[in-house]
Amino acid sequence: MAKVLMKGNEAIGEAAIRAGCKNYFAYPITPQSEVAEYLAKRLPEEGGCFLQGESEVAVGYMIFGAAGAGERVMTTSSSPGVSLMSEAISYIAAAQCPAVFVNIMRGGPGLGGILPSQGDYFQATKGGGHGDYHLLVLAPDGVQEAVEMTMQAFTLAEKYRNPVMILGDGMIGQMMEPVEFRDDLKSEPSNKDDWASNGMATRGSKKRNLVKSLFLDPTELNKNNLILKAKYEQMRKEEVQYELYNEDTDYQVLITSYGTMSRVCRTAIDMLKEEGIEVAMFRPKTLFPFPEKEVHDAAVKESCKSVISIEMSMGQMVEDVQRCVMGKRPVEFYGECGGEIPTPEKIIEIVKGLI
């Protein structure tokens, strides 16, 4: 189909519908409330379910209930709201239910601000809720990718029976860009009769299904955690996505960046190129699983003297970059937050300081 001009938040809502998701529960929070406003109108038109919950805490369990009943379901929120949902996310991961969470990040910690940030990297990739679990985390760099990743997220969530998070930011949610909804990204919901609490009559079975996360027997809990661990290992093997920019050069510096920040970095790299300075960028599209080997290989290229992680945070992804580079190159960090986005000129200045 032809491209249409849409605001990021509304495009994410439309993408969920196009992906085959008819169920959405959410609580308003800036800068993502337009997803709920859009779906409040669109989902009834599609015969779907829209409900504004009384809190993010409750919404987390509405998602859990719907997912446990075997239906495709999504919520969207922003940083403080995702903190409130984190309890449910831990339970959903433990009970192995597929669900899609979209976090349009704003500045924190605490109530913070309402402008774009990337301050929830740790929360999204390292936990947030309690216990040993991971989300599969996809980080779009614009509206088109937000649409595509939202559509892919449902398939991935069902493949792994695990929550998938789209980690965007307020810039992606608020800006308008031309987008295309690709029909090939639409998928049919998987058959969930083996495990979902969808009623014995639904699956013509006399055996009940239990969706739970309580394993009082330590060997049973350990077993469940090993099942989760095996899924995360499989994700590491099969789901890593990334982009390398300007990599076919003898780049002296490798920038690592993701999401909105990576677009500014790309502009800076183009401007540096005009000055005859070659810099490449490594952009993870999956923040979990992190492209561990790929970022290492890009960093240790002979021409590359140093690596710098540029983020809209006080330094979060840089820890993963350092871990993967394993001391073979110096890894620096530059970041701003609170809604401030480093400009291309600032990035050029920082990068030149490394050469």
């Binding site: 169920n23 529960f25 379910c49 409900l51 919950g53 009384e54 809190s55 805490v57 409750a58 919404v59 987390g60 369990y61 509405m62 998602i63 859990f64 209930g65 719907a66 997912a67 446990g68 009943a69 239906e71 379901v73 309890e87 449910a88 339970y91 009970a95 609490s197 969808n198 009623g199 014995m200 009559a201 639904t202 006399k206 009940r208 299904n209 239990l210 969706v211 739970k212 996360s213 309580l214």
Partner: protein
């Protein structure tokens, strides 16, 4: 000669973990009988709470999901909204529903979510070891109220059926007890009615059941029944508080 009294099909053969004298077993049976009599076992999904009934899924022979503390009404909302054809019930204690889950129960009731809540009120936290609940009586001892509940510090016990019946949205709200055979029979009728309203797609239904906790009350089962009769029932009056036919207040 046929059997006149058999185990409901909606109960499993598992032995329960509940303490001797605890009335969870009676209420489990009443819920299972209602499910059997309405023929809804294979379309029912139960929600287990956190607390003594956290493992209710071991005893009810139907699909089950397990919520976090207090969140069962939100989870039930999620299921019922996406699968209105299923019969959904939550089974919650007083710490779960009246304390940490107050927000979830109030809003689910006010939205008129068409599921059924079975609310066990035994005036104490059971599973965590006898701490004070929002329903603990004035002067009643609990591990976190060692001198007895001081209402000057902690307020008065919450009467959930009374509170929910104030909502304008149509609902069936009732308080029953299972301390005497007559009460058990009435509770059975109320529970079945609560499920019937759901089957008919009529309204939110809420059955509070005054129960006992001999272990944490530090009483024999018989003394616990008497204490509940003498102490709880004057404050937690039994009866229907709201029916969907009531005029809005």
């Amino acid at each position: 000669m046929g059997k006149t009294y058999t185990k409901p099909a909606a109960l499993t053969d598992n032995h329960t973990h509940y303490c001797p004298g605890c009335t969870h077993g009676i209420v489990h049976r009443l819920v299972a009988e209602a499910i059997d009599e309405l023929g809804i076992q294979d379309t029912t999904v139960g929600i287990a709470p956190v607390g003594c009934a956290v493992m209710a899924y071991n005893y009810f022979d139907c699909d089950f999901q397990e919520a976090a503390h207090g969140r069962a009404p939100a989870m039930a909302t999620g299921i019922k909204r996406v699968r209105p054809d299923l019969n959904v019930f939550t089974y919650q204690g007083d710490g779960d529903l009246a304390s940490i889950g107050m927000g979830e129960i109030m809003h689910a009731a006010n939205r008129g979510e068409k599921f059924t809540v079975i609310f066990i009120n035994n005036a104490i936290y059971g599973m965590t070891g006898g701490q004070m609940a929002p329903t603990t009586m004035p002067g009643q001892r609990a591990t976190t109220a060692p001198m007895g509940r001081d209402t000057a510090l902690t307020g008065m016990p919450l009467r959930m059926a009374n509170i929910l019946s104030q909502l304008v949205t149509p609902a069936y709200v009732t308080r029953q007890a299972v301390l005497k055979p007559q009460q058990v029979n009435k509770a059975k009728k109320a529970i079945k009615k609560a499920f019937q309203y759901q089957v008919d797609g009529t309204c939110f239904s809420f059955v509070e059941v005054i129960s006992t906790c001999p272990t944490n009350w530090g009483m024999t089962p018989l003394d616990a029944l008497k204490w509940a009769e003498d102490t709880l029932l004057p404050y937690y009056e039994l009866g229907d508080y709201k029916t969907p036919e009531d005029e809005p207040k």
